[in-house]
Symmetry: C2
Subunit: 266 residues, 2 copies
């Protein structure tokens, strides 16, 4: 450990910790916050005062309890749900790509389509299977099927009531079989497919959980089936699941644990 230069400015860091604490449990008073954060009351008081002036926290005037303020919402809106996901996923995707040397895709659902939010190109393949910003079907592709599996039943019904295009001979177009596949995905907690969207491609997908506990995205490792053997199947799966867990952790209200820090590139 090279004792990596602490440029943190303590006052700011404390203020941010305070915000996190309020997000975690709103409607706390000065004393309660001070206790749980190990700060003095006067410090907490002044931090809150500063944050309040800018609308980052708001005080219930009657009960002298604080909560996150509207400005957080305004700034958050600017970022958008996708933004939070994207930013949280970025370094994790980099790491996953480095680990697997394969393509990495971050996919979300929008209505009855899927949407590739971001990709990382693997080392091997010349051609990327997915491209950022690309729309895709819900019933084919590792990440897409996974998202469908965890979608609201009404969404599943709607998706299955549409015509199911066969992108390859391996695409599942039989509705009963598709439901079975979804069932198995939910049972496993991941999804591995071969050739169903792009012929010659495999995809190992894991679910990402948002702050509210629902599954909001999938991250997947994808590449050419030629390179896909039993050993890689295991390692890719573990890597994808770990990456998904890491991103989910970052998106959780409690934030990334002390452990979860992604090591920056040397």
């Amino acid at each position: 450990m090279t004792e990596p230069k602490d440029y943190k400015i303590a006052a700011v860091d404390r203020a941010l910790a305070l915000l996190e604490a309020l997000a975690d449990r709103p409607d706390q008073g000065v004393t309660s916050l001070a206790k749980s954060l190990g700060m003095t009351k006067s410090l907490v008081f002044r931090l809150l005062h500063t944050l309040e002036e800018r609308g980052f926290v708001s005080r219930d005037p009657e009960r002298a309890e604080y909560a996150l303020g509207y400005r957080i919402g305004v700034l958050g809106e600017r970022l958008g749900k996708d933004g939070a996901l994207l930013y949280a996923a970025r370094p994790v995707m980099d790491a996953l790509r480095d680990q697997t040397s394969e393509n990495v895709n971050l996919v979300v659902r929008e209505g009855l389509k899927t949407y590739v939010l971001a990709t990382r190109a693997g080392r091997h393949s010349i051609r990327l299977f997915a491209q950022a910003g690309r729309n895709g079907p819900l019933h084919a592709g590792g990440g897409s099927l996974l998202l469908l599996a965890y979608a609201d039943p009404s969404v599943i019904d709607a998706a299955l009531s549409q015509p199911l295009e066969a992108f390859t001979p391996y695409t599942i177009t039989d509705r009963a079989k598709l439901r079975q596949a979804l069932e198995r995905i939910r049972a496993n907690g991941y999804n591995i497919v071969l050739n169903d969207l792009d012929e010659g491609a495999f995809s190992v997908a894991a679910p990402i959980t948002g702050a509210d506990g629902t599954i909001i995205a999938s991250i997947s490792v994808a590449g050419a089936v030629a390179r896909f053997d039993e050993e890689r199947r295991e390692s890719h799966l573990k890597a994808a699941l770990d990456a998904a867990a890491e991103i989910s952790e970052r998106l959780s209200i409690h934030g990334p644990g002390e452990n979860g820090r992604v090591k920056s590139r040397a």
Copy 2:
């Protein structure tokens, strides 16, 4: 001015200013931020560093440019759109109530219904016309009609294709007349109705604009028609429009101007 004791912590305040600046214009570098905020580079650098460690800003590693980080999105999600609106509106609603002595309602649209987010009870009326959390129709009531007027055309069509209940003899149920009324609301930029939802009640409603520039809510002054004369009509209208502007300003990405501060209760 009583020179109100500055409890602000400068470092924290600067950090927040930095966040605002990044929200305002993302993808800025250290120098640009330093210049526009009148801080030194080193300070900005360290503030950014601190914010980055907690995920409140994120850096594009290649281009060394910063933007809001995922953590803002996570916390913002916690608050929700309604939360931001509610917290931003609270003090303004208090002030509006004090000015007008009438009921004040904050209404948003949800699908083809409206929803009362918050109310302030006026001095006069014993009975509150609206109650927080209450659903209402889209085609009657000062705030509701206003929201309908500014809604997407598809929403208007959908709303008009439903049966239009007559809550009082004054409720507009004729679709052509309703469309005319909506037209007039858009032309005026406000809406004043009498008796159309509750008999004996007037409502003066003004539109609130969200961070993205669309109209997301209405704030209205409402009371008994008996107390509604030409003079009050003018003063209530101006008060409502001012209040709406104030809230909109707070919700804008640029934030409340120096002027916009709501004076706290003595």
